[in-house]
Amino acid sequence: MEAFITFLSGAANYIIPAIIVAILTYAIARRVKVYEDFVEGAKEGFTIAVRIIPYLVAILVAIGMFRASGAMDYLVAGLKPILGAIGFPPENLPMALMRPLSGSGSLGLLSDLVNEYGVDSLFTKIGATMFGSTETTFYVLAVYFGSVGIRRTRHAVAAGLLADLAGALSAVFFCKLLFG
């Protein structure tokens, strides 16, 4: 298993150049002017990055303020008794709440779990599973919708948060089932 994981984490280093070469080889065989078309496509990179700026500022400022205010602690304290009733470990509650809001914030929480309980504890395993099972919903929303100027997000937030909830609950469920 360890060798497998090392292989998987090292694999990306081979996959990326392999994909790049494969695309270019296929294209040049079909007489595509690879250099000219590459440059043509690449010039959009800048415009897209600039276009997402206002959306990212809006989302990151609100989340940054929320984290700095200490409101998260109140939220955790308020939800603890409810979640305790369904067997959700309170130690993993901050991770479940932080995951959709901030990638660096939830990574920090995962490293806190490792430092406090060790790599072999159930809390660390649940936290790592939560981290790996969903993405930073609000960041993805700002970047993806921002890139095409979508301001009215309709049911995107609701669907994204329901998926985060499902990911967090099933992380607890599967980890308890496998390691509990």
Binding site: M130, V148, R152
Partner: protein
């Protein structure tokens, strides 16, 4: 919904900041986060240009079209409003493949190319279409087989232990994302409202 969540986050921060005496930190965080947002966006340019360039080459070579036709059966159900063989489907496949392989910096540019193509099919330019929300929900729920490099970095060799629960949990979250998106798109509260004239970008 995002309007209320966004307002809520800021209003709660202010009130809690006053109570806890963290208001200085809240103010500082506002400006620090705004700065971080710019750095993040600028930092994306390199990988974005690289992958968008390659995607354009793949497009010209007919690769994107090939992929678009390959996922027709699944796409018909997931994204019924995208016409068969539309280039958006090709970009969506490439985005998902990159996600599955854990190639985060490739997945985002491919996803944004898909969004651009979905936007061409979207009649209301500042409102998300059903296909866009379904696609976004799948992306936020994360579809990957490889563990994030950050987790492997923190847990070291022990990361192998959470390989199976992570795949199970991420499958559940992705299934819930798709079902939620499909179910919610029909609710009254989320119907597409007509846009005021001149609001198109």
């Amino acid at each position: 919904m995002l309007n209320y969540i966004w307002f809520g986050l800021i209003a709660i921060s202010f009130v809690v900041g006053l109570i806890t005496g963290n208001i200085d930190a809240v103010t500082e965080a506002a400006f620090e986060s705004a700065k971080a947002a710019i750095q993040l966006a600028i930092g994306l340019i390199g990988a974005m240009a690289l992958w968008l360039g390659l995607m354009h080459v793949a497009d010209r070579a007919g690769l994107v079209n090939l992929l678009a036709r390959a996922i027709r059966p699944v796409a018909r159900w997931l994204f019924p409003e995208i016409p068969d063989g539309h280039p958006a489907l090709g970009s969506i496949v490439m985005n998902m493949a990159a996600n599955v392989l854990g190639l985060g910096n490739a997945a985002t540019p491919m996803g944004l190319k898909a969004m651009k193509e979905l936007q061409e099919l979207n009649p209301a330019k500042s409102t998300a279409s059903n296909a866009m929300v379904t696609f976004l929900a799948i992306n936020t729920s994360s579809v990957q087989i490889l563990l994030p490099a950050t987790v492997v970095g923190l847990l070291g060799a022990r990361a192998g232990g959470i390989f199976i629960p992570t795949i199970l949990a991420t499958s559940v979250s992705t299934i819930v994302a798709v079902i939620a998106a499909k179910w919610l798109e029909k609710r009254r509260a989320y119907r597409i409202r007509s846009e005021p004239v001149g609001e198109e970008q």
